[in-house]
């Protein structure tokens, strides 16, 4: 594979993170991880194992207590649009219309209004929300809002996408639809993606590779390559290849013997 030859776009080396406080919490311990350019990596792990903490470190909002994190060769020092981050909680700006939300990153970059409009037009089409361009987020469903948040980050064209359980709060059907939408977006414009979830099937359906974290303090427990053909579809979910990897991942994530 050519991807193996290129240097990692994102790497964490022996990262530990401890939340200070009355009872200090060790969230991550000696975690090492590499994400290659244009790779879709899913991170699986039980509740409270430090997935969000890891993303916040990559996004530049937390500094590792120990170890180092690097993006595109240089050490991460504060947030920036090159590392687009979609939070676990709803963070669509409720005081902006859907279009204004999509254009916000470009506004911050100083892009001219006409060029901003062209980009937001394109993303409105991609996520199928053209009729909602001037609606406020209160008129959107949770899933639609999340798609806007993902598209909002993509609109600035970052090198890396950090997604924290973007479809965690959705029902199974909407979830599958959103996964297809995301996979479609990703196949059209390749990006490096770090996708956090605790749904094994979601990880398998979307990712090139899966990393499983141990319970808190989080460290890498296992890796799995997902060599399934793209574009993936409903058929993929029931293929023997899919089920074979699913069994392996399931055994690694489950309580074990």
């Amino acid at each position: 594979m050519t991807a193996n030859a290129s240097p990692p776009l994102l790497e964490a080396l022996d990262v530990s993170y401890t939340y200070s406080g009355l009872t200090p919490t060790r969230a991550l311990e000696d975690l090492s991880l590499e994400v290659k350019e244009n790779e879709f990596l899913a991170v699986l792990g039980p509740v409270g194992c430090g997935k969000t903490t890891l993303l916040r470190i990559f996004a530049g909002f937390l500094r590792p207590t120990k170890g180092s994190v690097r993006c595109a060769g240089s050490s991460i020092d504060g947030p920036g649009w090159q590392r687009g981050y979609v939070l676990q909680e709803q963070a669509i700006f409720p005081w902006m219309t859907v279009r204004e939300n999509l254009e916000f990153g470009l506004l911050a970059k100083g892009v001219a209004p006409a060029a901003r409009r062209a980009v937001s037009d394109q993303f409105l089409g991609l996520i199928g929300l053209s009729e909602f361009e001037s609606a406020f987020p209160k008129e959107l469903s949770t899933g639609m809002s999340k798609m806007v948040e993902v598209a909002r980050v993509l609109a600035t064209d970052p090198a890396l996408l950090l997604l924290d359980e973007p479809f965690g709060a959705l029902d199974a059907q909407t979830r599958a639809r959103m996964q297809d939408a995301l996979a479609g977006l990703w196949e059209r414009r390749r990006k490096t993606v770090l996708f956090v979830t605790h749904d094994v099937e979601e990880a398998l359906y979307l990712a090139d590779r899966i990393v499983v974290l141990s319970p808190r303090p989080g460290k890498v427990k296992a890796h799995f390559a997902v060599d399934l053909p793209r574009p993936r579809s409903v058929e993929t979910r029931f293929s023997t290849g899919f089920l074979a990897v699913k069994r392996k991942v399931w055994e690694a994530t489950g309580p074990g013997p």
Binding site: A59, P79, W81, W95, M96, F104, G105, A108, K138
Partner: protein, 281 residues
């Protein structure tokens, strides 16, 4: 809409009738003035009797009393008094709100600023606004300053906490998302921080308005020769006030006018807030 205003008028009429009956039953005009006295005082205070010298007025045609006489001699009218107090309230809001919001923003934004400013804020806030009057007079003598500064101060101190909580408790996740999209500095302040805090700040505005009226009228009652507070205590400086017998009808008119003005301003604030935060549910 028409139905609602009809109900409104009906309940107001019922209130007046009930008041008249109660006033008659109690029969203590020195504390519960009859409705016609209130109406008379209202007319007199609107300046009806002012064209004629007070002494020429037959007492049975116009509502007359020590307090009304003192006030009309000084040229005091209800509408002018209300205008002056409203102006002081507005001045307090226009100057005090930005000051309070600035402090709230700083404290909500930076942990360090919060650590330094919060104890100081609580100390400052604990000083009753009217207690500043005499100290300001030490500096500036008898001037407009000791009526305006307490109002500004009261408004500012009231505006701090809603802004603080709006920024600290609400804005956090939006700031994280915005910074990841590359926003910094002024853009972050204007497009993210202020709108995120807006519902809390506008909710607090209603308290600020109420506090501004209380403080302005209080300051006027103590040290002013105009405004609603002056009208309530019967005009003149304190020395002469002791000789003036209070007229219950004037006091009731003053209180009702203040209630109406406070209601109107709150209504306006709510309308403006709703317009500004149409995006919120």
């Amino acid at each position: 809409m028409a139905r609602r205003s009809l109900l409104w008028i009906l309940s107001l009429a019922a209130l007046i009738v009930a008041y008249t009956l109660v006033a008659r039953a109690i029969s203590r005009p020195d504390v519960v003035p009859p409705a016609e006295d209130i109406a008379g005082a209202f007319a007199a205070l609107l300046g009806r009797g002012h064209q004629l010298p007070a002494s020429d007025m037959p007492a049975h045609h116009h509502h007359s009393s020590d307090q009304v006489d003192t006030l009309t001699q000084e040229g005091v009218t209800l509408q002018a008094s209300l205008a002056v107090t409203t102006a002081r309230v507005l001045f307090g809001l226009v100057v005090g709100l930005p000051l309070g919001m600035l402090m709230g923003l700083l404290m909500g934004w930076s942990r360090r600023a919060d650590d330094y400013l919060h104890p100081i804020y609580v100390l400052i806030r604990s000083v009753p606004p009217l207690s500043l009057i005499t100290y300001i007079m030490l500096w500036l003598g008898h001037s407009e300053a000791h009526r305006l500064i307490p109002v500004v101060y009261a408004v500012a101190v009231t505006a701090v906490i809603p802004t603080y909580h709006g920024v600290r408790d609400v804005a956090g996740k939006y700031v994280v998302a915005a910074r990841s999209l590359g926003a910094r500095g002024r853009l972050l302040l204007i497009k993210i921080l202020l709108p995120a805090a807006a519902p809390a700040v506008l909710g607090g505005l209603r308290y600020s308005i109420a506090i501004a009226w209380m403080t302005a009228v209080g300051a006027e009652m103590l040290m002013a020769e105009n405004g609603m507070g002056n009208l309530l205590v019967g005009g003149g400086m304190w020395s002469s006030r002791l000789q003036t017998r209070s007229d219950p009808a004037v006091i009731v008119v003053g209180i009702l006018a203040l209630a109406a003005a406070g209601w109107a301003m709150d209504m306006l604030a709510r309308t403006v807030s709703a317009r500004l935060t149409r995006w919120a549910t």
